[in-house]
């Protein structure tokens, strides 16, 4: 299997604060990688660097063999890397279906100055693709509801459905289950993962719930203090002594703090 994503010696500093350092990761195509770590461990910084939201201070990122280090996010999107956000990034004044139509239309419009000007947004191909996506993610009952009033879980699904409108090969999910009740988390991840499986997308997802990480990933990366401290199968990584001490343990404290 070829590596779809290679990160070499990635480092990101904000002044004297080191947000990420010495990150070396190779992701083979087709893998589903869970990313764990306490708040501030560098998970989101890692994703932000890959998607061009942040420019690495040092190191380089290769996508399908091409160096994409420091490219603007929309260029990286065009190359085939999509992402979702901790807080769903959707268009509240449009309906769920319109959100998807816009995403599909942008993905298909020819590039350049005149492409988007001369392509009509509502083509039969766009409508068909948006309809397929809304069914794939099982949110068809919210099709014509304004996105400002749909429930949180549906927003998350819509966000991911929009992210994969351009048929990306690599998808980065930043905490897909954040803000979702514990009872709904598993169902949501099941819908997302089965939808992604039909599209053959390599997935990296950040997650705090260890049960979900164990259930849905082929491989787990554990972040601590800006770098990767464990990398392997879910069973191996979660059994790692440092991971248990620094991450799964921390998580319990977080839970306790959240309930207090």
């Amino acid at each position: 299997m070829t590596d779809i994503l290679v990160a070499e010696n990635l480092e990101k500093t904000f002044g004297s604060l080191v947000a990420a350092r010495d990150i070396n990761v190779r992701v083979p195509a087709g893998q589903t990688v869970g990313v764990i770590g306490a708040n501030g461990a560098g998970k989101t910084t890692f994703i932000n660097m890959i998607t061009g939201h942040l420019r690495p201070t040092r190191g380089r990122i290769l996508f399908e063999g091409t160096d994409i280090t420091g490219q603007p996010s929309r260029a990286i999107t065009r190359l085939g890397i999509a992402r979702s956000f901790q807080v769903a990034q959707i268009f509240p004044s449009l309906t769920a279906f319109e959100n998807l139509c816009v995403a599909c239309a942008v993905a298909h419009a020819p590039q350049g100055l005149f492409g988007p000007l001369l392509t009509p947004v509502q083509s039969p191909a766009v409508i068909a693709e948006a309809q397929a996506a809304i069914e794939l993610f099982q949110i068809a009952r919210y099709r014509d509801v304004p996105a400002s009033v749909i429930p949180q879980g549906v927003r998350k699904l819509l966000d991911i459905a929009m992210a994969i409108a351009g048929s990306p090969r690599l998808l980065l999910l930043d905490e897909p289950t954040s803000g979702i009740s514990i009872e709904e988390k598993f169902d949501l991840m099941t819908v997302v993962m089965s939808a992604l499986k039909t599209r053959n997308i390599t997935v990296l997802f950040v997650e705090h719930d260890m049960e979900i990480v164990e259930r849905f990933s082929d491989r787990v990366l554990a972040f601590y203090d800006g770098t990767v401290i464990a990398d392997g199968t879910p069973a191996n990584t979660l059994a790692d002594a440092r991971v248990q001490e620094l991450i799964s343990g921390t998580k319990l404290k977080h839970k306790a703090a959240a309930h207090a």
Partner: protein, 303 residues
């Protein structure tokens, strides 16, 4: 229908409608930007550039053909918009609005200080011809200009309608809602806004060119902020949901202004202000929302 009405209506109505529809083009440009959450208090910049381009071409090159003059007015203002667009596309909200205002006031200041262009008085424009046809009476000239304005407005309405249905045009509400998501879909927000600035500048410039021909005179007031304010007024009155509303709104505004001016010369501003107040309170989405509702009702009826 409007073309036939023009032939039958008295002169002063034809003249009022010509100015109203010419100004409506500037309003249509504001609608294009407003859909993306941007408002400009400086559309008079392009309006004035279009008008002066017509006046100066006539004066220096001796060209009197109205079609060529209007085209040149549009090209000149489009060029200005293309240049300042690089700057404007980086700003949003009040900064976008005030920067537009500042640019238009720079032009105003420059024209006021330019003695050779008549300073505050401006200067007159030679009588236009229409593809070789030279109207023999003032009434025919007025009617010819009215028809030219209608034709240009019709083409502009078609063009803007097509733009709203395009991918670039349909990203207006998304830009207003969430720029980050637009970028992560793979589109450049800056470039999309730059295009909107150019479309709005082109439309305002053509409007200014037509208005200059209709009035037969240009002066720096065409770049003054009250001119921009008038366009914004009509945009609020018309709303952003319909292309036709820009034309109806502009006609209504000009009629209202001249009626108010005739009936109560000292109080016309109060009348206009009250109309705006009532619009914002009871019809916050403008006249266009009524048109959209009517259209929905007629399409919902079983045929």
């Amino acid at each position: 229908m409007a073309a036939v009405a023009g032939a039958l209506a008295p002169d002063w109505i034809v003249s009022l409608a010509t100015i109203a529809f010419a100004n409506a083009l500037a309003v249509l440009g504001l609608v294009v930007m407003w859909r993306a959450g941007l408002i400009s208090f400086g559309q008079a910049l392009y309006y004035c550039v279009g008008a002066y381009a017509v006046a100066l071409t006539g004066r220096w090159a001796g060209i009197t053909d109205a079609f060529i003059l209007v085209l040149l007015g549009g090209v000149a203002s489009w060029l200005i918009a293309a240049i300042v667009g690089f700057l404007l596309a980086r700003y949003r909200e009040i900064f976008f609005a005030m920067l537009s205002l500042a640019l238009s006031m720079i032009l105003y200041g420059g024209l006021v200080k330019t003695e050779s262009l008549g300073s505050t008085d401006g200067f007159s424009i030679s009588t236009p011809t229409f593809a070789g046809y030279a109207p023999h009476s003032a009434a025919m000239l007025q009617l010819s200009l009215y028809w030219l304005t209608l034709l240009v407005c019709f083409l502009a309405a078609l063009g803007v309608g097509a733009y709203f249905r395009s991918v670039a045009g349909s990203l207006a509400a998304p830009i207003r809602d969430n720029e980050i998501r637009v970028e992560f879909l793979g589109a450049s927000v800056t470039r999309l806004i730059h295009v909107k600035v150019m479309i709005a500048g082109l439309l305002a410039g053509i409007g200014g060119a037509l208005a200059a021909l209709a009035i037969g005179h240009v002066d720096p007031n065409m770049a003054y902020w009250t001119t921009s304010g008038g366009f914004v007024f009509v945009t609020v009155l018309a709303g952003s949901s319909s292309v036709a509303a820009a034309f109806i709104g502009s006609l209504l505004f000009e009629s209202l202004r001249s009626a108010a001016f005739d009936l109560m010369p000292g109080l016309w501003q109060i009348t206009l202000g009250s109309v705006l107040l009532v619009t914002i309170m009871f019809l916050p989405e403008g006249l266009g929302s009524i048109l959209v509702r009517l259209r929905r009702r007629s399409s919902a009826k079983p045929s």
